[in-house]
Structure formats: structure tokens, C-alpha cells
Symmetry: C2
Subunit: 420 residues, 2 copies
């Protein structure tokens, strides 16, 4: 593997990794602009913009964008997260130049025709409807809202239907001018790629962009609380979050080891206790997510209405037990799972390109595998127990409940059980 | 790449492919036993059995199974489809022997303790609840039921809650004795794997299994019809199926090229007409699936209740238009998409192992890439138009509707529109 990086004069960054033997490549542009960069009036505009990128540029119609990539058998896609928007393509190695041309065209030259905005509005309203129809999707939007209330970080990425119904060209252009500067952009590519050729192409395409000051992010203040939507569903959906480390805090590795040992696989405590021993659910997991200035430890399970109290209470008891007696074996296993998972993920050009972009966005460089392994190996049993203990002592929690959840405990009851 | 195959005396087949440079591997056992092999009384037992494999063997408890694989950072999983059950693990290359030991243990030696059966019943009922809560999941079960009514092929894989509530050890054992013979089993492995070592291990583990006659499958008779579940949902979910070729019929390539050009990507006709031009939906696609003796061309879209009629009618009009004027460019693009997709998929050990098993199950050998490319290249514009035309002339259709679908057209109305 050959990792190479380059920075243009205007701050635009390039990171590539050639993977010998691969006949395909993943290439994309990651922009440090997402839901969090929106004011309340703009909520949903970053995602709307991501859609509009595919609806026509100065050089290509929407059909021509699709055809350009699909004519060579590739695919092109995009996503918006809370801190990033990504546009990427997967193609055979011979078509990397073409893919870069198309991806950069949709990022830099979208035309935002009003007719196309009206059409795409319907598509996005439909996407919002689909999310609302999927309980184990929408519950995480509600959990986020309760975790970070009245803040950009707490708002949904799709935005509320009312705002989406009103966005116009000037709203999109304003968000672009505020957030799509060259120093917010990272070009990442992995697989059968040639660094020099990509750099040359980027110089030409992005070299003349003028840097701008991006708006400062409002800090994320995890405050917690509860949202409970009672509905006739088959399953009672239970999601709980605590504040965790941000991604620049090295404790994030402790949080991840904890999440893995606690609810990350079949041997984890939650899976064993709640599913394997008691048969209370099909899906259950813990995960540690992170943003630039905050993070969340999230727990989720789906169960029946008459079992949601039992499940919630056991989950609390398991947190206490973890703080008390999470052991060497469990921590060692979780570390190995994280390290092997990292290695396996890197065998795919798509996840490798994704990681390159994320690392450059966070650290302005790509940590070596050895460095990451060292961080993971540095996590001790004590630090993991302490992390579990930190969830207990009056630490705020956010609870989202959906379905037949009338009788589920409140967030205060769950917190009381933690300290009991 | 080095593809190698081997057959034990009892019919057990082994297929491996070493992928130079990879540090991980995927290894699993695919068994020609799925939902279709169940009698009506057994409906859900193949899937229940798949769950019970993880609940303890003669040598390992459920926790020990999970720990064995996760201690080395791997993961283990399984799925049940209508014609197959698969148990597989992804591990680093050094741990392939261990993974084979664990996967074969759970397939051959599950103990089906009654206590564990009771616990797992709760898990599966929860899984059924989750499927019912996910409209764009459950609608495909209903579509299958309408496509193949009163037949094993039409029944859901999870089975109805009433039957799942009653399965006992003898039901599981009976299904195993009927369907888990060595000539129904294929061991497939890809990535950093060593063929000779896997064969030696398989001789020892599987060599003494005694062949048995598997029950003959009841033929799949696509008959069509309609199911409409009216419910207050955000989206109206629309799924339509026609009969297509089975997987031994070389016309399957024509069906796949058609599905790709018609609704397989962003440049496809359905995507362009329904989403890009009219903004009627977020998700829309066509796909061609196949079984041993029948197949289905499936269309799906989610839209709002007031637009489902428009969407359904346009979809019919597009089928007619495709029969009339699907062109060289579209067919060429769809072929390239299929070929590139195949190549990219083969860069992942998991999808490669999956393909090896599927090819051996169908053809008793693994066709070379060149062979497949030749088949795809053999698809002509005329054959694609003819395939579209075959959906029109009174060919049966199956329609599933879910959500605010009171005013959606009936299957007869859609078929009438096709011939109008």
C-alpha cells in the first residue's frame, strides 16, 4: 500500500492509497459541511443540496451525470452526515479520471434550476416519509434531538417537511458559499489509483477556488431527556444515549472498546444477557459515535411492549455490572475485534477511501495502522470500567421510546436504577 | 486467483479460491435446504434451525461459540433463504482452521436443548415483529405469497408466529434428517485460504456423514394476484412481480440486463422517469431474482398515497415503451454495469465465497469470468425487448400494496393498461 497526500495552495487536500492488485477504485470528495453547519432556518438544506448535485451541472444534465458513470459500469452516490457531505464513485481503475471529472462537476457546478428543485422536493419528502415509516431508523433522529435539544447537532439531517417544502435556489447557493470552500474539501481515493495523475487533475479543477471562512460550529451540549411516541407497532423500540468522548479525545478508544465488549457482538454482555439468555429481542447493540467536540454512547433494542421494562432495567443493571467487573478477557476480545475489523475493512477500496478522508478531516494526516493498534492496546480494564462508571453517577441520559411503550420506565427511573 | 474444487466420497463438495495479498478470509457452509424444503406444518423451521445452531453444540455453549470466533476478532453469521441455508465466518487468514471448526460444529452438532428452544422462540418472534414493523421489508413477503400462493415457495421464511410458537426439538431434528445430508452441503472459502488444508479438515469432519435422499421440491407455480393492506403510513408501498426465468435458463441474463436497464441504476428508465423527471418517489428499483425452476422480475417503489396511482400507471407505460424501443446504448450500459459489478464484488472475500457456493449449487462448477462475460455480451436488444413484451400479453402479475393504498389500481387494471 502506498499512502500519499498533497495540499493545494488554497487548502484543498488530496489523499490517495494505491492498493496493489485491485482492478477497481473508490474516489470521492468529502466536505466538512453537514447538518451541524445549518442554522435552524436552514435545517435540511445540506441534504437538499446533496440531492441537487445530481440534478444537473453547467456541463451535464441529470441523465448525463448518471450515464457518464454507468456507461463504464460504475456507480455514484452521496450522503450527508452531521459534520460532512460526501460525493463518491466506485469505478474500474481505468475510469478513475472520468469519475473524478464527474464527481467534481456535481460538487462545483450544480445549476439548481427551479424546475429541478420542485421535482427533487417531492423525492426528499418521500425520503422523509420512508424514514418515518421505519421505526428503527427514525428513533435515532429522535434520540439525537433529545440528546442535543435546540442545537444544530440535535436536528435531523433530512430536515422537517415544512422547511423542505420551502427551500429555493438562494438557500442552496447560500449554504454552498458559506461551506463549500477548498479548505473544507478533501479528495480521497483508494484502490487502483495513481496519485500523481489525481493531483494534476485536482490542481486544474480545484486549484482556482478561493478560500473562505467557514462559520464556526455551535458547540454540542449533550443535555439529555426523554421522548416517547406511543404507537401501535409490533415492537417496542428502545434507544438510550449517554455523552461520550469526541473524536479527538483519545478516550474514544476506551468508549469503543467498552461499546464492543458491552454490546458489539454475539459474545458481548448485552447480547448474551438480553438475547441469548432471556430471548427478549432480536436486535440489540451498543455503539460509540463521535463528533468534533462531543460524542455519544448509544444503546438500542427492539422488543415487545410487555417486555420493554424488563429489557430497559436489565440494560441498566448490566451497565452497573460492567463498571464493577468487566474483565481482562472481555477487554482483550473487544480490542482484537476492533483491530481485525479495521484490517478487514481496509481490504475494501470504498471503506479505505472513507477512512482516509475521515482521518484527514480529523487529524490532517492518516495515522498508521500501528498507531491505531497502539491506541487500542493502550485501553486497560480499569479505563473501561471507569468509562462504564462515568455513565452512572448522575451523568445525563437521553431516552427515545417508540411503539407500545406506555409502560416503559422514564429516563429518571432508569437513572435512579443506575445509582440504586 | 486459484480456484480449486474437491468432492468427498459422500457427495460433500468443497470450493476454495485463494486471493493473493488478502489477510482475511471468508469461509462457510451452504446447504441446499431453505424455506422451500418445508411442508406447510414446517413453515419457519429451516430458519428456527439456523438460529438454534448458535445456541449450543455438543462441544460448545452459545457463549463459547461466540467467544471462539470473536476472540480472534472474527464474526460469524447465518441466513436462510428459500433454497439455501448458509453459515459463515469472516476471520483473519491465520484463523481459517478455527473458523471451519466452529462453523462445522454448529452445523453438525447442535443440541437443541428445550430451554434454549424456548429462549430462541422469543428472539424469533421479535424478529417477526421487526419485519412487520418495516413496510419495505414485509411487503416482499406478501408479494412472494401472492406470486406463489399455497406453495412452499410462496411462504415466508420466518414462518407465521403461530407455528414458531409451537416448534419443538423433534421438528428441528426432523428437518435436519430430511435436508442436511452431505450431498446438500457445499463448503466455500475465499481470501487468504489454503485449499489442501481445508480439504484435509473437511475429510475428517464431514467424511463420515451418510448421504440421504432429500425430499423433492414442489414445483414453483407463479400464478399472481393481489394483496392490499390499507394502513396509515407515510408512504404507499407498491411492489409488482412477473414470472421470469429460473437460474439454469440462460434467459436469466436477458432478464437481468432488462432489470438493470429498466430500474437498476440512476440512468435506468424507471429512475429517470419516475424519480428524476416527476419526483414521485425516493426508492424505486427493478430486479431479477431466480430459483431452480422459476424466477421473478420484481418492481418496487414507495410514494405518497395520492401519487401511487400515477406511479403505478407510469410504470406500466414504461414496460410497454421498453418492449417497443429499449435501445443499443441502454443494453450496452446495462451489460457493462453487470460486468463491472461482478468484478468489484469479487474483490471482497465474502461475496466471492458466496458466489463460489452459489455457482457450485447451481452448476456443480464455477463458471469463469470469461464465460459469464460471454453470456452477458450475448444478450441482444431484441431479446431484451422481447423479454419486456413477455410481461405484457396476459402474463400473470402479482401486486402487493401497503399503506394509504385505497385508491391504487388493481392488478387487473394494471394488466389492462399494459395491453391497452
Amino acid at each position: 500500500m502506498t499512502l500519499q497526500t498533497h495540499r493545494l495552495k488554497n487548502g484543498f487536500r488530496i489523499v490517495t492509497e494505491n492498493m496493489p492488485g485491485l482492478k477497481s477504485a473508490s474516489i470521492g470528495i468529502w466536505i466538512k459541511a453537514g447538518g451541524r453547519h445549518e442554522s435552524i432556518e436552514q435545517n435540511g438544506v445540506a441534504h437538499f443540496l446533496e440531492h441537487m448535485a445530481f440534478k444537473g451541472t453547467k456541463r451535464r444534465s441529470s441523465l448525463q451525470i448518471a450515464e457518464a458513470i454507468e456507461d463504464v459500469g460504475g456507480y455514484i452516490n452521496a450522503y450527508t452526515s452531521r459534520e460532512m457531505t460526501a460525493y463518491y464513485a466506485r469505478v474500474l481503475s481505468d475510469d478513475v479520471d472520468l469519475a473524478l471529472d464527474v464527481v467534481s462537476d456535481i460538487v462545483l457546478n450544480p445549476v439548481f434550476s427551479s424546475a429541478e428543485i420542485e421535482v427533487e422536493r417531492g423525492v426528499i419528502l418521500s425520503e422523509i416519509g420512508q424514514a418515518l415509516d421505519t421505526p428503527d431508523d427514525i428513533i435515532f433522529d429522535w434520540l439525537q434531538e433529545v440528546s442535543y435539544p435546540d442545537q444544530p447537532l440535535g436536528r435531523s439531517i433530512l430536515g422537517p417537511a415544512e422547511r423542505v417544502s420551502n427551500f429555493q435556489k438562494q438557500d442552496l447557493s447560500k449554504f454552498v458559499s458559506e461551506n463549500y470552500g477548498p479548505d473544507q474539501m478533501i479528495l480521497a481515493a483508494a484502490g487502483g489509483v495513481d496519485h500523481e495523475s489525481i493531483v494534476r487533475q485536482c490542481e486544474e479543477i480545484f486549484g482556482n477556488l478561493v478560500s473562505r471562512n467557514q462559520n464556526q460550529l455551535l458547540p454540542g451540549n449533550f443535555s439529555g431527556g426523554e421522548v416517547r411516541h406511543i404507537k401501535e407497532l409490533e415492537q417496542a423500540h428502545f434507544a438510550l444515549a449517554f455523552e461520550g468522548p469526541n473524536y479527538k479525545n483519545l478516550d474514544i478508544y476506551t468508549a469503543q472498546v467498552f461499546a464492543t465488549a458491552f454490546g458489539g457482538g454475539m459474545s458481548s454482555r448485552l447480547f448474551q444477557e438480553v438475547r441469548e439468555k432471556r430471548g427478549l429481542c432480536y436486535s440489540i447493540f451498543a455503539s460509540a459515535g463521535a463528533y468534533s467536540d462531543t460524542g455519544t454512547l448509544t444503546l438500542y433494542a427492539g422488543t415487545s411492549g410487555d417486555k420493554v421494562s424488563e429489557l430497559a432495567n436489565i440494560t441498566m443493571d448490566e451497565i452497573k455490572r460492567a463498571a464493577d467487573n468487566m474483565n481482562e478477557n472481555e477487554v482483550a476480545r473487544a480490542s482484537v475485534q476492533m483491530k481485525a475489523g479495521l484490517l478487514m475493512g481496509l481490504e475494501s477500496p470504498s471503506s479505505r477511501a472513507e477512512r482516509l478522508a475521515r482521518m484527514v478531516a480529523i487529524w490532517d494526516r492518516v495515522p498508521t495502522l500501528d498507531e491505531v493498534v497502539e491506541r487500542i492496546d493502550g485501553v486497560t480494564v480499569n479505563s473501561v470500567r471507569n468509562f462504564a462508571a462515568s455513565l452512572i453517577g448522575g451523568s445525563p441520559a437521553a431516552l427515545a421510546l417508540y411503539g407500545p411503550v406506555k409502560d416503559a420506565p422514564s429516563v429518571e427511573e432508569l437513572q435512579a436504577r443506575l445509582v440504586a
